[in-house]
């Protein structure tokens, strides 16, 4: 009975979003209200615990939102200048081989776009390019949808990974390495999947070597970046490594019709300048001795007292999430956006009114999802403080037991499908996955890596993302057709991730 009550807010969000097609902001509000009522009536949460839970959640929310807002701002600064158009125009000229085009644009460039932007941008930008190159609309949506999945967690300037750290209270030192490994393996798997979508086993046999080389390069770059504390640019560095490796490989695998068009390298470099500034700034803060400490002097956050519910569930006293404003990834992104704006402005790439359009489009794009994230995080923190998460974890550990590592990625995927994003899935399920792994005495970092990998894979099957993909490829109303092609592939990838997780937990 208590298990059913504890899971009810999550089920409510799922039913409202999938069954009734409510937006995340709306469904999140309903989930919050359900969690509050259940915590109050059945789990004995009191007013004081609720007050502290809400105050704690505000810092978690701001930690996540600062990155989402500024990441999208930087993306708009570059897109408004035409930087994304330059990349989109340049890459197709490198090869006429269909398999290599799919790898270069639908896998590598999609991963790069996920690294810097996310929010459904990869599929929205790439589907029309692939259609222009002669791919069917269905393939044009499915290829980038699959191609960017492995870069979701460390993409969007690390928003999903940051959400996992915020929800669990664990640092990158614990979480980054297992997540980097599992997502790296997934990178290879989605590369193979992209080749399969283009032309089945025949294409895989023809281009398996570039797939392997590119996957190795992108995964290694992402792994090394995130395990050295630069988790906010992990996806960006992975995607950049892919471009550096993939462009020469595309020249080697040029196909029958060699392009005579020359690439404007100066234009390409200016287009990438905004992200170059971001990489340099991030490296400077991490590598210049004493700078990180100096920037850490100013922080926002509270220390919370112990709370206890009427049912006796205790949350120990301790500091909540601390916001180090001046070294926060959001601040680095804000400065990068300003620098990128000045570069594009001095190069004469903006038309009149650009600044106003950048802020307007950023504001209108992020504010709705910000409300959804606020409701969902508040719901998750109430569930934690009421002991509902603990009840769920105990229920899962009792019923699933040793097999739990195989279920962990599916739970992450379910969260992403129902909430529309890997970040939301991590906010809702990471604390539950952590608690379950503690009860079952499983390595929490590996279980959480499985959670976020599943979330990354599941996020592309979220109804909202499928609708975006369908609309940019002229497939409105044919979302079911896209899902029918996408879901079996995602299912196979999730099965492989389950298998790897269970082998990793028990055999390695």
């Amino acid at each position: 009975m208590m298990f059913i009550l504890a899971i009810a807010p999550i089920i409510i969000i799922l039913v409202l979003m999938v069954g009734f097609r409510w937006k995340a902001s709306r469904a999140g509000g309903a989930g919050y209200l359900a969690a509050l009522l259940i915590a109050w009536i059945w789990f004995g949460i009191n007013l004081e615990t609720l007050a502290y839970a809400h105050a704690k959640s505000v810092f978690l929310i701001m930690d996540v939102l600062l990155i989402i807002w500024t990441a999208f701002l930087l993306y708009r600064v570059v897109a408004e200048a035409g930087g994304i158009d330059v990349l989109s125009r340049t890459l197709p000229h490198l090869t006429s081989d269909k398999g290599m085009q799919a790898l270069l644009i639908g896998w590598i460039f999609a991963s790069f776009l996920q690294g810097v932007g996310g929010f459904g941008v990869p599929t929205a930008v790439i589907a029309p390019i692939l259609i222009g190159l002669g791919f069917s609309p269905l393939s044009a949506v499915v290829i980038p949808s699959l191609g960017h999945t492995w870069a979701v967690t460390f993409g969007s300037l690390g928003a999903s990974f940051n959400a996992m750290m915020a929800a669990t209270g664990l640092g990158w030192e614990v979480l980054a390495a297992p997540a980097g490994i599992l997502l790296g393996i997934t990178g290879l798997l989605v590369g193979i999947a992209v080749a399969w979508v283009v032309g089945g086993w025949k294409t895989i046999r023809r281009i398996w070597l570039p797939v392997f080389i590119i996957a190795l390069g992108m995964s290694t770059a992402q792994y090394l970046t995130v395990t050295n504390g630069l988790w906010n640019i992990g996806g960006l560095m992975g995607g950049s490594a892919g471009l550096i490796i993939g462009i020469p490989l595309a020249w080697i695998y040029q196909g029958k019709n060699k392009s005579s068009e020359k690439i404007n390298w100066r234009e390409l470099l200016i287009a990438l300048a905004g992200y170059g500034v971001l990489v340099v700034l991030t490296l400077v803060i991490q590598l210049v001795p004493g700078l990180k400490t100096a920037l850490s002097q100013f922080k926002l956050g509270f220390t919370f007292p112990e709370t206890i519910t009427a049912a006796g569930y205790v949350v120990p006293a301790g500091p909540g999430r601390q916001l180090y404003i001046f070294r926060h990834a959001g601040m680095i992104l804000l400065v990068s956006s300003a620098a990128a704006y000045l570069i594009f402005k001095s190069a004469g790439w903006y038309q009149q009114g650009a600044l106003s359009r950048i802020f307007k489009s950023t504001g209108s794009r992020v504010i709705g999802s910000s409300v959804g994230i606020t409701s969902i995080v508040m719901m998750a923190v109430i569930m934690q403080h009421a002991g509902m998460t603990d009840t769920l974890a105990r229920g899962f550990s009792n019923s699933i037991g040793w097999f739990y590592p195989a279920i962990a990625p599916w739970l992450g995927a379910l969260g992403a499908v129902m909430t529309g994003s890997n970040a939301n899935s991590n906010l809702v399920f990471s604390a539950l996955q952590l608690r379950t792994s503690e009860i079952l005495e499983l390595p929490a970092a590996i279980i959480l890596a499985a959670q976020t990998t599943g979330g990354a894979l599941g996020s592309v099957a979220a109804p909202t993302k499928v609708i975006v993909g369908a609309s940019t490829a002229g497939m409105e109303g044919k979302e079911g057709e896209i899902l029918r092609k996408l879901l079996p592939i995602i299912g196979v990838l999730l099965l492989l991730v389950s298998l790897i997780t269970i082998l990793w937990v028990y055999l390695l």
Partner: protein, 59 residues
């Protein structure tokens, strides 16, 4: 009145901005009223957050 309701139902960006501030600002203030053990303060600020969520869910 009808005009206000139809505007809210169309969910313009400012609607989300108001709701967002309605949830975040009381969230921070709840820490201080909880520290001061003010039952009335906690009730008022929690009500605002509940109202914000109700508006997003059911308006």
């Amino acid at each position: 009145m009808n005009k206000i309701i139809s505007t809210i139902r169309s969910r313009p960006p400012w609607f989300y901005l108001v709701i967002f501030l309605m949830m975040i600002a009381p969230g921070v203030l709840l820490f201080f009223v909880a520290e001061g053990d003010s039952q009335i303060g906690m009730t008022i600020f929690l009500s605002l957050i509940v109202l914000g969520n109700s508006l997003t869910a059911f308006s």
